[in-house]
Every structure is written in C-alpha cells, then in structure tokens.
Symmetry: C2
Subunit: 417 residues, 2 copies
Amino acid sequence: MNNLTSWLHEHLLKLNLTEEMDYENGFTRLSYTDEEKQAHKAFQHIAENLQLEVQTDQAGNLWATWNVDKGAPTVAVGSHVDTVSSGGGYDGVAGVLTGLAAIKLLKDQNFTPEKNITIICFASEESARFGVSTIGSKAISGLLDKEDVVDVEDANGITIKQSIESFGLSWETIQHAEREKKDLESFLELHIEQGTQIEDNAAEIGIVRGVACPIRLKVTATGMANHTGTTPMNRRSDAFAAVAPLITFVEEQANLLNEGDSLPLVATVSTGHVSPNVMNVIPGEVELGIDIRSVDDSLKKKLAERIKDFCKEIESNRSVNVDVQTLVDNDSVILDKTIQKKLSAVTDSLTIKPLIMDSGAGHDVMNMAHKWPSGLIFIPCENGISHHPREYASLEDLAKGTKVIAEYLRVETGEHA
Amino acid sequence: MNNLTSWLHEHLLKLNLTEEMDYENGFTRLSYTDEEKQAHKAFQHIAENLQLEVQTDQAGNLWATWNVDKGAPTVAVGSHVDTVSSGGGYDGVAGVLTGLAAIKLLKDQNFTPEKNITIICFASEESARFGVSTIGSKAISGLLDKEDVVDVEDANGITIKQSIESFGLSWETIQHAEREKKDLESFLELHIEQGTQIEDNAAEIGIVRGVACPIRLKVTATGMANHTGTTPMNRRSDAFAAVAPLITFVEEQANLLNEGDSLPLVATVSTGHVSPNVMNVIPGEVELGIDIRSVDDSLKKKLAERIKDFCKEIESNRSVNVDVQTLVDNDSVILDKTIQKKLSAVTDSLTIKPLIMDSGAGHDVMNMAHKWPSGLIFIPCENGISHHPREYASLEDLAKGTKVIAEYLRVETGEHA
C-alpha cells in the first residue's frame, strides 16, 4: 500500500470503531445513539490531527474546518457515519473519510487554499431507527419540520426528542443548526454507488446529475374473506388473485418506459400484506407498496397514472375494490450543472473514467442542494451490495475518490478560483 | 313460531350462553377454555331435561344417551360447541342443537327406539387456539397422536396439556377416550354448509358424499434483496415479480380443472409473506401458501404437479430459486354410501329437496368415518358466511335439519331397523 491507501485503510477502521473490517456482522450505529456519538468522536480526533477546527452544531452535525480567512467563502464536502442495523462500513463513511483524506493530500502537497474548506459529518442520515432520514442535513438546510417528527418513536418507544437530548443536544434549539445561504459557497458529497452502473459501464467514478426521489403508492385490494374449502371458484372475491397481475404489470411497464426514454426509471412492488393470511381463508384484503423512481419526474407520474388505470381495470373485471393512495410524491433533485462540468474536467485531468449518471437513492446532498450549488460523486461498491455487512469498496476506489475531491478543492479554492 | 322453532330458538340461545344472538361481535369459545366448558354445561343441562344420561369422556367429549337396552347397538349423532375467535353462533352448535331437538321430537311423538341413541358434543373442534383441529373426535376415533401435539402452545404460551388439565381432565388418560368399533353402529353429523351451493342449486339440504381434505403447498421464491432506487430493472432478482404469475396460474388452472371434471376442485393462494417487506428494498424472498381441495384426490394431485412444473418454468426464466414443499397431503374422506341412500329416502319422504354434494371443510365426521359408517348433512347458511359474527342459519332450516335427523333416527332405530 502506498501512503494514501494506507492512510485510508487506517482511518476507515478508526471511523468504523474497529481494528478489522467485519464483513460477517457489519456495523450498527443508529441515529443519535452512543455508537454514532463514538464515530463522531473518531471523526473529530482525525480532523484535529489534520489541524482542522471542529465544531458541533445544534443538530449534532460536526464541521471540521480549514479556516484561512474569515472573510472568504467556504466550500463544503461531507457525508455521514451513522448506519442501518447490521449495515456496511462504507455507506456514509466513504464520503467523510475521503473528504478528510483530500485535506491530508492537499496539506501534504503544501497547498494553501484561498477559501475556507469544511468537512461536514452529518448527523443521523439513515432512517433505520426512526423512519426519518437525513435529520442533520435537513436541519442545516432549513428543511427540518420539528412538528412532523416530534412524536416519532424507535422500536423501543424512544422518541426523536428523547434521543436527541440523550445525545447531549437540546430539542429546543435543534433548528438553530440552519445555516444561511452566504455561509457556504457550494457542497460536494462522495458516496458509494449502492448499484453496479459504474462497473457495468466500465467506468471508474460516477458524476451524478440528479437524485431520483420516489413516488410511493399504497394499493389496497378489498374482496371478501371466505373459507377456501367451501367457496366455489365462481363465487369468490379473492383480493390476492385479483391484484397479482398488478405486480407483473409494474415490472413490465417500468421496462417499457426505459426503452423509450433516455433517463432510467425503476419501479418495484416492494411490500405485500395479505389478510387474514391463514391457510384456509381466501385473502379478503391485500396491500401492496410500490416504489417508483426516476430523475425524470414526468416519467414517474406517467407510470403512477398507468398503475391507477390498471387498478380501475381490475375493479371493473373482478368483484374487488382497489384503492390507490399516494404516500409520497417528491420531485427529484437536479444537481448543479456547473459543478458537474468542473468534476468532469477534474476526472479528465486525472484520467479517471467518469460515468454521468443518476442516483436512485437519497443522500444528504439532496437537502444541501435546496440551498447551495451541490454535487455528488459515486465510487463503485462490490456487486452493488449495500445496507449489508458484505458492503465493500476497495481502497483503490477510495483513493480515486480522494484524488477527485482533492483536485476539485484545489481548483475550487485555489488562486483565481 | 311453532313449537319446534321456538324450542330451537330458545336452546340456540342457551348453547350460545346468551339472551340474544350477537351478529355484531359474534361468539368466542376457544378450545378447552372456560367458555367452551360453560357451553358444555348448557348442553348437559338441556340433555338432562330431555331425560338423557350425560357422561364426559377422558378427552372432554360429552355423551348424552337415550339408553333403552345395554345389549342393543348405539346410533350416534353430534357436532361441537367451541368456536373460533369472534365466530358465529351456528358452526357446531347447529349440529348439537338439532340432534337434541330430534330427541325432543321423537319423545314428543312417544317414539321408543329399539337401539340406544347418543348425542355427542365433541370437545375442541376448531383449530383457532392451538392450530390443531377436532381433538375430541380424534381421541374417540383413536386418531390422536399425543406426541404430535404435546408441545403445541396457544398465543399466550399455554400448551394443550396445560389447557386440558385446567379443563378438569388428565393429560395422562386423554387417549382412553378412544371407543371400540362395537361401541357405535353409525354416526351422523349435521353442520352449516359454510358455502352457497345448496342455495345456488335451489335445494334445501345437502347430503354429503365426501370431505375434501387439502393438499397444502409452501412455495418459497428466493431472489436477491437490493435497493429499489439503485438497482436497474435488468439487474434484479425480484422474488415477488418472479412468483406473481403463479398466483394467477393457480386460479386459472383450478377453473380449467373444474370444466373437465364432475367433482369440483378449489385452489387458493391464501398466504403471502414478503421479505424484507420494506419500501426501498426489492423483495429478496416471497413465501406463498397454497390450499387445494377436492374429494377427487387425483384432481388435487394433478394441480399440485402443474404448480410444481410452473415453478420450474419460473426458475428457468428468471434469476430466482423456487422451492415447493408439500405441507399437507391428506386423502379425502369418502362417507358411507348406505347412509347417504337412507338420508335421500328420508328427505324424499319429508319432501325436502336435497343436493348431493361434497364438503370442502373438515368436520368431526372426518375422524368418526375412519372407524364407523358415517354421514354428514348440511343446512344452508346465509351467503355462505361462516367463522364470522354475521354467520346465520334460519330457524326454518334448523327445523328442517331436525326433522331429517329425527326421521333418520326413527328409521335407523325403529322396529325392524
């Protein structure tokens, strides 16, 4: 290992609070737990060793800043260190680690920026504990609606409010974490891809155009529960048999819409609840959850409409009611085109092959982009596996990501930037 | 109301431990609970008022006997009084009630049988509490395998053994409830249809040829759980999308097999479990439960084979594994043809229109038929609704059932019978 990859390896372990990566059991650092706090302390320790000034804001985000001039603009880079239950050691950590490594590279090269550079370690990005994601970056961007989440509880009945207070913060002041537009000039996040497009396209790094936020539908088919043995086939209102073709339809239509359009769309019937779900009773009610994503919002809406029409068809052909409810319909987030161009120039100069792509998953950058020009780059992760102990990104890819961030920061904060 | 229907109404209420039928909340008398015990006491009280001798056996079954001659054969009639959770007031009760009412009719008419007649109130017919059905009639017929059920628990962790002992019985002696072949001459059960075939065929009563026992299959499709947003459509192993056509296939094939055959078949995908069943993860595993019934066992097996072939097709077309496990494959129970003929003659003589039909549900008679010539008659229940508070059979239909049983007993136990 060279100097950079060995630094990355050493600090990957530190941020994961481990002496060896555990691809068997993975890592569990849920939002606002002591485990997240320990990883924050590791971040702070590494940042201070790099002579960065570390501050914690009212939402628990850490800001590790290379202050050169109070009057100069600040360029931000960052991601998170919390995880899902038994998650991997790279989701979030990769972005924080490469951000810090980029500072080390620049310092090793005796670079002196003309703008301040800050590495943000966002608090509580994963929704695994509370069903609410990206709490830290929402607070910074002014997107956190406290009233919406005050009563949300984890599996043990602990509210967000309680967890924040036992994290050493005050629920009363969490919204003061919001920063003004002028406080930052731009934001860049690096994340593992959680997919295989970079590899599939024989590229080395992803430059992301937009983050595809989902439309989520809940389809409820209601028939009539009845005895499986005594109800003849022609006297049934079987909710499961009625709604089954919809599962096939969603996949077919997603494939069809991908053929005609340049921006990809994905759609999944990801949840199913059958009621009463016992062997000798015909299903009286079936609930399906559908997740539709594309950076092209019109494409998402087109599929949602087709699904609604298909459900009406089912209703008219069978003795069931089919109700379609829209749970979520968030417009996708288009990232800053200028930053994308700069990142392309950077990868060209480093002869790293980029793939211009979209993100199907949400990240902290989604919130930051509401207020500041923002960019997102992906590094490959093996077989696209993520939120899983086997999640893996190579040190070589982490090093490439570090070089892209460092070069981007050099261009962005250097003389005449 | 005439004499018989008012007697039926009064004693329907008594067996249901109520002063008014409750079609809103229904009745809950789970196996071997105090509620079942109270209904047994009501049965005993009514039987004793009819001058029957009541005995409880080692499995908690009650035998209410019109003893005329210790040396004469005994003809048995019966059903149960336990229910599912929030069940109706007729499933089981109808058979016990009409059996007792038939005795009353015969006594009112000063009939004296030449054989003993016994009305059996079977213990613990429903599987709602322990997942094990017809415990009482299994014990009488010698079909109860104690080892199979000793560890079975209800939702509160109470074992069958514990429940039986708190019911006032001994787990050690429950198998002594078994009766010898010579102890009974024949058995007849009356039950509500729990379907609508009698009504659909403009008949008044059902004479059952056989009880269709199920083949039950568990189909497990295993793909790969992955992020819904980051996994392109062409890189998925979606277990739910893969297995959805099977749900449609089962219904189509059941319809098809009904066209070609005289004995009806029903088949249902009645259960579904999606894993991990969260909105942003592609289903990695889906488990479907399939219930197939016909009195024609070869028809059931034909469909099970077609399902297995279809699952192999899915496997060869998609990147999922599909495993098919046979949970249950019980041969159907063919009832005694002589008793069916006698019942037909009885309905003819009463000018009650019978439908010769099959039973899609299991009943105590299933076990009794393993040892004694046995018969089953159905009375209609409104819209086929059963195991539900709205379960309903009219007093007129209960009266018709009573008359059929009484006339059958008169023929069966009268002079020269």
